[in-house]
C-alpha cells in the first residue's frame, strides 16, 4: 500500500511537471507583444543569415517611436491557416500573397479592372515609349525596365537593379528555383545601370508586363536574402524586408502576425493605418462571428452563402469584384476512361461532339447559379467573357427537348423505356451499350458544388443520360500522373470543377488547357484530350504584341470552341471579401488578393 501511495504521488508530480512545462513554454510568446514596441522596423530577431552581414536593419526608428502617444489605428484580418511563407509563388495558397502584398512589391500589379499598373517600376515599358523593342526578323524582343529611384528596403538600403537581377536568377536556379510563367521565353536578364535592366526574350511574349510582378512575384533584396538557401526555401521569405506599405513585426506561427506601418514607404502619407494584425482562425463560422461581433475587420474570400448572411449584419460590408475569375465547368473526356489518346481509344459516349453539345443544352445553368450560388456570379459560355477580350458568342439555350433530339440523331435512343438511352447506331460505343457516365467533382469546395453535381445529374437524367456521382479530394483529382492524378491519367468521364486565369493575358492559360501538346499526361492540362490543329495554329499566332490581331485571333478561337465544345463552361463564381464598415478602400480584385491596395486603406470609426 505504501508503495502505491508513493506511486500516486509520483504520478501527480509528473502531471504537475507537465503542467509547469506547458505554462512555461508559453513564456516566449507572452513576452513578445511587449517586446515589439521599441524596435518597430526590425524584423523579428530570429533572423540569422549565414554568410551575410547580420546588421539589424534599423532605419528611421525615431519616426515611429515618436508616434505611440496618439491613438493608433489597428485593423484585424482573419484567415484560416498560416501562410507557408511570404513567397507567394512557392506556396501558392493565396494566404501568402495576402501578406506578401503588405510588405513586398513587384515591378507591377494588376488592378480590379485588369489593368496593369507600375509598383516598383517607374513606368510600364511599351513599344511606344521604347521600353519594348521587337526584332521582327528573329521573332525576339527586349524589354527594358526602369525602377523607381526613391524606394528603399526597410533597413535603409536602396532598391536597385541588382535586386531584380538577383531575384530572377534565384527563380531560374534549376536546383532551388521554381518555374514561373514566361521563364521559358527569357534568355537572360541584364543590368544596364543601378535603376535599369533588360529582359531578353527568345520569342514575342505578350505577358511580359507581369514577368516580375502581378499577383505572386516580387523583387527580393539581394543584400539580405541568401542565394545559397535558394528561392524556394530562403529564410528571408519568412522574415522579409519591406518595400511595401507595412513591415512585419512578429509572427507567432498558428496564432497571429503583426505588421506595422512602414515609415519609409515611398508614397508620401501612406499607409494611413498604423497596424495590421492577421489572426489565424481556422473555422469559418468563428471567423464570421468575429466579423459580426466587430473583432475582425477583413475576412477574405467570402462565399456566396456568407455574403447572403452578412448582408443583414450592420457593421459588415462585402466588396464584390467587378469581374470574375473562376468559371465552373464540365470537362468531358474525349478519350475512353483511363486512356489518354482520343484517336486510338475514343470515349464511347463523349467523343461525339453532338453528345457534348446535348449535355451543354441540358444543364440548367440559371437555376444552379440562382438557387445554389445565390445569384452571384454570372452565366459564362465562352473563355472570352471578360475584358480585355470579349467575344460575341450567342449564349446556348437551355433546351432539354433539343438535347434529346440531338442525342437521338447521334444514335442514342431509349428503346426499352427504362429512362436510360442505349447505343443504336452511335459513333463510338457498341450496339446496345447504355448511356451511363460517371460525374466527379472535388470535395474542398463544399456544399454548393455537391448540390450542383447532384442537380446536373438530374438534368442529365432528364435527357436519358445516367450519371453516377463521386467526390474526390483535390489532392487526388489534380495530382501528377505518377501519384494517380485522376485528371492527368484521364481516369474520368465527366468532371466538374472551376478554373480561370488572373491578369490580362490568357495565352498561357489557353495553352495549358487546350493546346494539343498539353494533352500528353504530365505535360499539360488538356485533360479532355481535345486535339484541334486550327486552334493550335491560332494560339501560336497569338504570341504577338499586336492587340487588334490578338482580339481577332481570340474571337476566332471562341468560334471554334463554341462549335467543338471541348469544355462546357457553366457560370462564374463570385470573387468577394467581407470587411467591417469602419474599414474603407477595400476593393476585391480577381487579379490579386484583397490586400493589393492595402496602402490606400483607411479607418473611419
Amino acid at each position: 500500500m505504501a508503495r502505491s501511495k508513493r506511486l500516486i504521488w509520483l504520478a501527480a508530480a509528473g502531471m504537475l511537471i507537465v503542467l509547469v512545462f506547458g505554462l512555461a513554454s508559453c513564456g516566449p510568446t507572452v513576452t513578445e507583444p511587449a517586446a515589439t514596441q521599441p524596435e518597430e522596423v526590425t524584423p523579428p530577431d530570429e533572423v540569422t543569415q549565414p554568410g551575410k552581414a547580420t546588421q539589424p536593419p534599423q532605419a528611421a526608428e525615431t519616426e515611429v517611436v515618436a508616434e505611440p502617444a496618439e491613438e493608433k489605428t489597428s485593423i484585424t484580418l482573419v484567415i484560416p491557416e498560416d501562410p507557408p511563407s511570404f513567397n507567394a509563388i512557392v506556396g501558392d495558397t493565396g494566404y501568402d500573397a495576402l501578406v506578401m502584398n503588405l510588405v513586398m512589391l513587384g515591378l507591377t500589379g494588376v488592378d480590379a479592372e485588369s489593368k496593369v499598373y507600375p509598383e516598383l517600376a517607374a513606368e510600364l515599358p511599351t513599344v511606344e515609349n521604347g521600353g519594348v523593342i521587337v526584332d521582327e526578323e528573329t521573332g525576339t524582343m527586349d524589354v527594358t525596365w526602369k525602377l523607381r529611384q526613391d524606394v528603399q528596403w526597410s533597413d535603409g538600403t536602396p532598391l536597385t537593379a541588382d535586386d531584380a537581377v538577383f531575384t530572377w536568377e534565384a527563380i531560374m536556379n534549376p536546383e532551388t528555383g521554381t518555374w514561373v510563367r514566361g521563364s521559358d521565353y527569357v534568355d537572360s536578364i541584364e543590368k544596364i545601370d543601378d535603376y535599369t535592366f533588360v529582359f531578353h526574350y527568345n520569342t514575342i511574349y505578350p505577358g511580359y508586363l507581369t514577368q516580375l510582378g502581378g499577383e505572386q512575384l516580387v523583387i527580393w533584396p539581394a543584400h539580405y536574402c541568401s542565394a545559397e538557401e535558394g528561392f524556394v526555401a530562403w529564410e528571408c521569405g519568412r522574415q522579409p524586408l519591406s518595400t511595401g506599405p507595412f513591415v512585419l513585426q512578429e509572427w507567432t506561427v498558428g496564432d497571429h502576425m503583426t505588421f506595422a506601418r512602414n515609415p519609409n514607404f515611398f508614397e508620401p502619407g501612406k499607409p494611413a493605418i498604423d497596424e495590421i494584425i492577421v489572426r489565424i482562425v481556422p473555422d469559418d463560422a468563428v471567423r464570421k462571428t468575429m466579423m459580426i461581433n466587430g473583432d475582425a475587420d477583413l475576412n477574405m474570400w467570402a462565399t456566396e452563402a456568407v455574403i447572403k448572411e452578412l448582408q443583414d449584419a450592420e457593421n459588415v460590408e462585402v466588396s464584390i469584384s467587378p469581374n470574375n475569375r473562376w468559371v465552373m465547368r464540365l470537362f468531358p473526356n474525349q478519350a475512353a476512361k483511363g486512356t489518354t489518346d482520343p484517336a486510338a481509344s475514343p470515349h464511347p459516349i463523349l467523343n461525339d461532339v453532338r453528345v457534348r453539345d446535348a449535355i451543354r443544352m441540358a444543364v440548367d445553368v440559371d437555376t444552379i447559379f440562382q438557387d445554389i450560388f445565390q445569384g452571384f456570379g454570372a452565366p459564362v459560355w465562352t473563355e472570352f467573357y471578360r475584358q480585355p477580350y470579349v467575344c460575341d458568342i450567342p449564349r446556348p439555350a437551355y433546351d432539354p427537348e433539343g438535347a434529346m433530339a440531338l442525342l437521338a440523331e447521334a444514335g442514342w435512343v431509349d428503346t426499352d423505356g427504362d429512362g436510360v438511352r442505349e447505343c443504336h447506331g452511335c459513333l463510338n460505343a457498341n450496339e446496345g451499350d447504355l448511356m451511363q457516365i460517371e460525374l466527379y467533382t472535388y470535395a474542398e469546395y463544399g456544399e454548393p458544388l455537391e448540390l450542383t453535381q447532384q442537380y446536373i445529374a438530374e438534368n442529365l437524367g432528364a435527357i436519358g443520360i445516367e450519371a453516377q456521382l463521386s467526390i474526390f479530394e483535390g489532392s487526388v483529382m489534380w495530382a501528377d500522373p505518377e501519384s494517380g492524378g485522376i485528371e492527368q491519367n484521364g481516369d474520368f468521364d465527366l468532371d466538374l470543377w472551376d478554373d480561370g486565369y488572373s491578369g490580362t493575358d490568357p495565352t498561357d492559360y489557353l495553352w495549358e488547357l487546350y493546346y494539343s501538346e498539353a494533352a500528353t499526361p504530365g505535360y499539360g492540362w488538356n485533360i479532355v484530350r481535345w486535339i484541334n490543329p486550327d486552334f493550335d495554329a491560332l494560339l501560336d499566332e497569338a504570341y504577338t504584341l499586336d492587340e487588334a490581331r490578338r482580339k481577332e485571333i481570340f474571337c476566332e478561337m471562341a468560334q471554334i470552341m463554341d462549335e467543338e465544345v471541348p469544355v462546357i463552361l457553366l457560370f462564374s463564381t463570385v470573387n468577394a471579401d467581407a470587411h467591417s464598415t469602419r474599414l474603407h478602400g477595400i476593393q476585391s480584385n480577381i487579379n490579386d488578393l484583397v490586400s493589393w491596395n492595402a496602402a490606400d486603406w483607411t479607418v473611419e470609426e
Partner: protein, 346 residues
Amino acid sequence: MTQYILRRLIQALFLLFLLSIVMFALVNLAPGGPLAGHGQTRHVRPERIAMLKRQFGLDKPLPVQYVVWLIGNDWMQIDADGDGVPDGYGARKGVLRGDFGFSFRTRKPVLEEIALRLPNTVYLMSITMLVALLIAIPIGVISAIRQYSRFDLAVTTFSFAGQAIPEFWLGLILILVFYAWLKNPFTGEPLLPPGGMYTLGEGFSVRDRLAHLILPVIAGALGWIAWYSRFLRSSMLDVVHQDYLRTARAKGLDERKVVYRHGLRNALIPLVTMLALDMPYILTGAVFVEMIFSWPGMGRLYYQSALQRDYPVLMAILILSAGFMIISNLVADVMYAIMDPRIRYE
C-alpha cells in the same frame, strides 16, 4: 523487473522500425500527392512539378525514399538540377540522426514546425486532462456508492450525452453563447474570447490566460469526464462488493475510510492504466478543439499536413505518437505491476 523493461524497450525499437515502414508506405501510397494544386491554382504546370519532385526527393523510387528518410542521403550522389547527371551529395541526415526532413508546405525543418506547436498542445491538453480527472473521479465514486440514486441517473445520462456530443458542435455552441450572446455586464465586451491563447497586445496575465482556456477546456474535457467517470463508476462497483470492504466495515472503520482508503485505492488501479494509455493525446492534441478555438497546436498541424499531403510532417507526427504510444503502454504495464502486487513480470 529491470530486465523486463529492457526487453520491452528493445522490442519497442524493433516495433517502431516496422511501424515506420508500414506508415511510410501507407502515407505515400494513399491516393493523391503533395504536388496537386490547391488554393490559387487548379492545374500546376508540369515543369514546376518536375522541379518540386526533385526538391522534395519524390523523383526516387519509394524504397529509396524510405532509406533517405531513415538514414539520409549525404552519402549518395543526387541529381539536384534535373539535367540527368548527378552533381553532388545530398544534404539530408535521416531520422536516425535526428533529421526529419523539411515540410513540403513551409520548407522549414519538420522538427522546427513541431517545436512551435507541441508546447501549446501540451499546455492545453494537460490542463484539459487534469480538469477532466478532477471532475470525473468524484463523480465516478459518488455514482458508484449511490448506485441508481438520482445523482447516479443524472450522471449516467450526462455521460452518454457527453460522449455523444461532437467536440466541434459543442465548441461552436460555446462560442455562440459565451462570445456572441453573453456580454460582460460591466464592460459590454463579450464574456469570453472566441479563441486563441491570449489577448494580443496585452501583457501576460493569469486572468487573461484562464479566460482563453475556459471554453476549449470545457469542450475538450466533457468527453473525457464522461468516459473516465463511467469507467471509474464500474471499477468502483466491482470493488464495492468485494469481501475486503465488508471486512473493513466489520472492523468498525468509518465509511469515509472504507470508501476512500480501501475502495477507491483499488478502483483506481485500472484507471491509472487507462490514463497511461491516453497520455499520447497530450502530445497529439485534439483536432477539433484546436480548429474551433484557433489554438495553434499539434492537432491542427496534423490535420493540415494530412490534407495537403505534407509527408515529412505527417511521418514525424505519426512516428512520434507511435513511439509515445509504445512507451505509454510499457509505463501502463509497469504501473500495473507496481500498484497491484499480485502481478509480476519475469
